[in-house]
């Protein structure tokens, strides 16, 4: 064969010059090309046959997409179905520039509906990217308008975002969701799993530009909307507590404050307030510190409020006769080891009842001295100290209650007056609730019903009895003592004509964490109690942390307690759930009805009305709504104009003349917070006359006169 090729080449060479070279080289060239094609064939075989499955899967992965269909998060209501937290539906508007047919026309039409200029829209639509967002948070009405235009390349995406119409009210209880709709605190966090629901999924094929490929149906699963929570919170009570707490914290220049209002019969949390607060709608603008529900996360030494445990032990375990037992109060100074215990006022001999009413530390310690540590511990534990209440809120603290084996020689003495223990305001509220509830401790709870998205109740929370702590008779006796505290004891600043209040003040020196010793300039002012004492319906605890103007529980917390009680009791018909139920108003439909605004601060009421797009008129220039027209729970439409009648300026400063007789002048001035008051002083030493009389509302216009004489 080679010979034959040679012959052919020779022939060619003879025929044309250079022909011999050409033929060989053309053959080389041909072989070169054919080898190239062969190589490609081999590679094709490898890619298309050997690696077929691998590449097929890659192609499928590129193509298949899963889209999440968001589920609507459940709503959180107060007990009358006033909305505390709700998912609003809104729409994001996007544009696929390449699919838009007439950019100018589309931009013009959209700019008419949106508040975006034509030029801005045009520049957005001329972008090179396959998808551009044009506007966010469009209302469903606007989205509908846009949808009706049937514009090509314009996409509307349904979104949800959390909205808290009541803003600060109840914020720490409700919690918040961050801007990615992830729960951050409070009920939102605790019930996140229920609230969240389950997003739906749809699988579809998509080209590389993100366009859905038509005519390819894939299975989809619908989203399951989240459950809704009906809480035990009463918005009116909640706002009252928050307003009064705020006023107290500000006027006493305190660091913070908490207030808890429970129904002692059920353990329902009617209100739980903390100051400083935050607006969950713009949570990021507040310090993280403000998100905290201090009423359950912060522990304080309860001070004198803890003396009721001592009282319970003495009455039940040691059969104390309150009026016969006399204790020597050592004239206000009593040595306990290296430390000296002192009373706020020197006493000599007091009956046990008096010792409680006057809150004599020395008297109580003496009563407690013969207690068995174990018995004392058991009662304290039974009242719920040292254990979590089990409330359905996150981050609850258990407080501190040492076991008897940890006690030092004087531990029992200190504990009997509320030191060496620590409790949350909620624990104290629950313990006082047990006294109010004939000795039975109830578990506090916030969510009373869980409803699915159609409004069908899924779970109903029944009141949970934790245990009987003391006998009913003991509870009755304790109640008497506590009523006495308010009527003629240290709690007199909480005294209110017409309402029988049982309660106890408390003032605890704060433990300085740096030195480990008690400070004399940092206090926690307490008032814990319940009312009406004959048939207790409310337990209320007010805690003010580190007040700098006055520090006694009786000076700081008790007046706030009284103001709250006054407003709650003063509510028209005292809108308890039973009465509303009798009125035939159903929970689910109350949203079309007017909110009860009576008793709320004017600003709170305004917020609520504005969030509901209701027009209103304020009559009078007071701070608190005392009457509303139309009445609460009457039907309202957008056209209704709500009239709010406000009180006179009586409560504007929230101050009334305290009882100053017997105090030194310095103490009296401290109590008065003289900054915006004009005080005229006659003489010096101890106050023995005061004008006006205790309990009179005071403001800057009234001249206060104190007559003193040397002690």
């Amino acid at each position: 064969m080679f010979k034959k090729m040679q012959k052919q080449i020779n022939r060619n060479r003879n025929r044309v010059p250079g022909g011999e070279v050409s033929s060989t080289r053309i053959m080389v060239l041909a072989i070169f090309f054919l080898v190239g094609f062969l190589l490609i064939g081999i590679k094709l075989f490898l890619v298309q046959v050997v690696e077929h499955t691998k590449y097929k899967n890659i192609a499928r992965n590129h193509l298949e997409h899963q889209r999440e269909i968001p589920a609507q998060r459940g709503t959180i209501w107060d007990r009358h179905h006033q909305t505390l937290a709700v998912d609003l539906i809104h729409f994001s508007l996007g544009v696929r520039p390449r699919l838009v047919q007439d950019v100018g026309k589309t931009a013009r039409l959209l700019s008419r509906i949106l508040d975006i200029s034509y030029q801005k829209l045009l520049s957005r639509m001329k972008k090179q990217s396959p998808f551009v967002y044009v506007a966010h948070r469009l209302s469903p009405e606007k989205a509908n308008e846009i949808r009706k235009l049937r514009l090509k390349g314009v996409v509307l995406e349904k979104r949800f975002s959390r909205y808290y119409p009541m803003k600060e009210i109840g914020a720490q209880v409700v919690g918040y969701c961050d801007f990615d709709n992830q729960a951050g605190a409070g009920l939102e966090l605790k019930y996140d799993e229920l609230l969240r629901g389950k997003p739906g999924k749809s699988i579809f094929l998509r080209d590389a530009l993100g366009n859905q490929i038509p005519n390819l149906d894939f299975p989809t699963s619908d989203p399951i909307n989240g459950m809704s929570l009906e809480t035990t919170i009463d918005l009116v009570y909640q706002s009252i507590l928050e307003e009064e707490l705020k006023a107290t914290v500000l006027s006493h220049k305190a660091l913070s404050g908490s207030a808890v209002l429970l129904d002692p019969r059920t353990g329902e949390v009617l209100a739980m307030a903390n100051y400083p607060g935050y607006d969950p709608n713009r949570y990021n603008q507040f310090p993280v510190d403000h998100y905290r529900n201090r009423a359950i996360t912060d522990v304080y030494e309860p001070g004198s409020t803890f003396k009721m445990v001592t009282l319970a032990v003495a009455l039940e375990a040691y059969a104390l006769n309150l009026d016969k037992k006399i204790v020597n109060c050592e004239n206000g100074k009593y040595r306990l080891g290296r430390k000296v215990i002192s009373d706020h006022q020197p006493f000599k001999y007091l009956t046990a009842r008096q010792a409680f009413e006057r809150s004599s530390n020395i008297g109580i310690i003496k009563l407690a001295q013969k207690f068995s540590p174990l018995v004392f511990f058991r009662y304290a534990r039974d009242f719920g100290f040292g254990t979590m209440t089990g409330i359905d809120l996150p981050a609850e603290a258990s407080g501190i209650l040492h076991t008897p084996d940890q006690y030092s020689k004087y531990s029992l003495s200190y504990m009997s007056i509320g030191y060496e223990v620590a409790a949350t305001p909620l624990q104290i509220a629950a313990a006082y609730g047990a006294i109010a509830n004939q000795g039975i401790l109830m578990q506090p709870f916030v969510v009373r019903r869980i409803l699915d998205d159609t409004g069908q109740p899924m779970k109903e929370q029944q009141p949970v009895i934790i245990r009987r702590v003391v006998k009913a008779e003991t509870a009755e006796k304790m109640k008497e003592v506590l009523v006495g505290v308010v009527e003629h004891g240290t709690g007199h600043t909480a005294y209110l004509e017409g309402v029988k209040i049982a309660g106890k003040t408390g003032t605890a020196q704060k433990l300085d964490e740096a030195t480990g010793s008690y400070t004399s300039n940092r206090h926690v002012a307490y008032f814990a109690g319940f009312f009406p004492a004959d048939k207790p319906r409310f337990v209320l605890v007010v805690v003010v942390n580190s007040p700098r103007r006055g520090y006694y529980g009786s000076q700081v917390a008790a007046p706030a307690f009284k103001d709250i009680v006054e407003r709650i009791i003063g509510l028209p018909g005292n809108s308890t759930p039973t009465e509303i139920e009798q009125a035939g108003v159903q929970w689910a439909s109350t949203q079309q009805f007017l909110v009860p605004l009576e008793g709320m601060g004017i600003k709170t009421a305004q917020n609520i009305l504005e969030s509901r797009d209701l027009r209103y008129e304020i009559i009078g220039n007071g701070n608190i709504v005392y009457k509303q027209e139309p009445a609460a729970y009457s039907e309202v439409t957008e056209k209704t104009k709500v009239k709010l009648f406000t009180e006179g300026n009586v409560k504007s400063t929230g101050k009334r003349m305290p009882k100053l007789k017997g105090l030194t002048l310095r103490e009296a001035l401290q109590v008065l917070n003289t900054q915006d008051l004009t005080v005229k002083v006659e003489g010096s030493g101890i106050v023995y006359k005061q004008y006006p009389a205790p309990g009179t509302p005071i403001s800057s216009k009234i001249e206060i006169k104190l007559v003193c004489k040397p002690s």
Binding site: I9, F33, I40, L44, Q48, Y55
Partner: protein, 390 residues
């Protein structure tokens, strides 16, 4: 020279390739056309328009007496250089727009170069073993042209131009060592060009490390492999490619072979390769058989054009070569490349007819193929008259 019929295999290969081109351009471009032009048929219409022009040009080339150009090929060469100068130096873009007419300058220039080389080499064969007055003038024009193309800038077209030129010089009686040494002299500047333009370097890098760069320059070629691979043996079916839905860029132009691989599978790709093999083999056989040196050089140039473009395009789509934008002759969407492919096809068919009747002696493999064909044709002809007689 006696007339005879054209090579039917060549003719059929060309037309089948054109047909595949029409179908695949439509299939590969429909989504793209609808997305960006709002019309599925946007590219198909234009492709058919180019093809229509191409067929006219093919007919003209088929009937044009190219031997008359002998000795005058410098005129078109300077015309080609002028156009390249205009595109490469003045406008610095690949396309030349003259009123309604627009074309790629390099396609025109390549045609004039092949013509000039064929004419000049066939007339100067006696001097080609010398460097200064034999090889050098040719190399000069080749490099000048390549430099102008590079200035557009169009690296891959310049590379192809040089390859075709070198092949034509190689089959001429030049000394191989002259070519090699000249080639070596060009290696350092070539590396310099690659290193200095980052995108070329990146393509080379992504070719060498394909897995590292799936999102960047390697993305296209990876998607191309995915297309081939998901096609398998039989393909996913005509028009059912999903890769063309913007996953594979340039699906209807430079990467159309990948869409063929996906829709028609290994069967389809091997069939297309087969057609190009037929064109190559038939072209080579014409070159071997012709006694006219001018025709021989033209045939080699044209055959190399088809074979090289097919080879490099396929190699790029299969990641056997760095990514460059070269069309697959007859199949890739339109443009002057298609027009000139048709012209070359017309020329090749003309030369196949001219050499068809030449007495052939047995010997080389090419002549064997030729003889086999000849025998078959004769046997067919023997059968046919009988039929007629009935």
């Amino acid at each position: 020279m006696k007339k005879s019929s054209v090579d039917p295999y060549l003719l059929i290969s060309f037309f089948v390739l054109m047909l595949i081109g029409i179908i695949m351009v439509y299939s590969a471009s429909a989504f793209y056309a609808r997305q960006y032009w709002g019309n599925n048929l946007f590219f198909l219409k234009r492709h058919l328009m180019w093809l229509f022009l191409g067929l006219i040009a093919m007919g003209m080339a088929y009937s044009f007496p190219f031997e008359k150009l002998k000795g005058y090929s410098a005129i078109p060469l300077f015309l080609g250089l002028a156009i390249l100068f205009y595109a490469g130096i003045i406008t610095r873009q690949r396309w030349v727009y003259w009123g309604p007419i627009h074309f790629q300058a390099v396609d025109v220039a390549k045609f004039t170069l092949i013509l000039f080389f064929a004419d000049s080499l066939s007339r100067k064969e006696k001097f080609l073993h010398r460097y200064a007055d034999g090889l050098f003038p040719h190399l000069f024009y080749l490099m000048l042209m390549a430099a102008l193309v590079l200035a557009q800038p169009d690296f891959s077209s310049a590379f192809m131009l040089i390859l075709i030129g070198i092949i034509m010089l190689y089959v001429a009686p030049v000394r191989v060592q002259h070519l090699v040494f000249t080639g070596l002299a060009f290696v350092p500047p070539l590396i310099g060009v690659v290193l200095l333009s980052p995108y070329k370097l990146q393509r080379v890098v992504s070719f060498l490390n394909p897995e590292k760069d799936l999102k960047g320059a390697g993305y296209q070629v990876f998607q191309s492999l995915v297309s081939f691979g998901s096609g398998g043996i039989t393909g996913v079916g005509f028009a059912r490619s999903t890769q063309k839905m913007f996953y594979l860029p340039e699906a209807h132009t430079d990467f159309i072979f990948a869409i063929i691989g996906e829709e028609l599978g290994l069967i389809g790709t091997l069939f297309v390769i087969g057609l190009f093999v037929v064109i190559t083999v038939r072209g080579i056989s014409i070159a071997l058989r012709t006694t006219d040196r001018f025709t021989m050089y033209l045939t080699v140039g044209i055959t190399s054009h088809f074979a090289l473009y097919a080879l490099i395009n396929m190699m790029v789509t299969l990641r056997l070569a760095p990514a460059t934008g070269l069309p697959l002759p007859f199949i890739s969407y339109g443009g002057t490349a298609l027009l000139f492919s048709c012209v070359y096809a017309g020329m090749l068919l003309r030369f196949s007819r001219e050499t068809g009747k030449k007495p052939v002696r047995s010997g080389s493999p090419a002549t064997k193929i030729y003889n086999w064909n000849q025998n078959r044709r004769e046997s067919l002809q023997r059968v046919a008259p009988k039929k007629r007689r009935r």
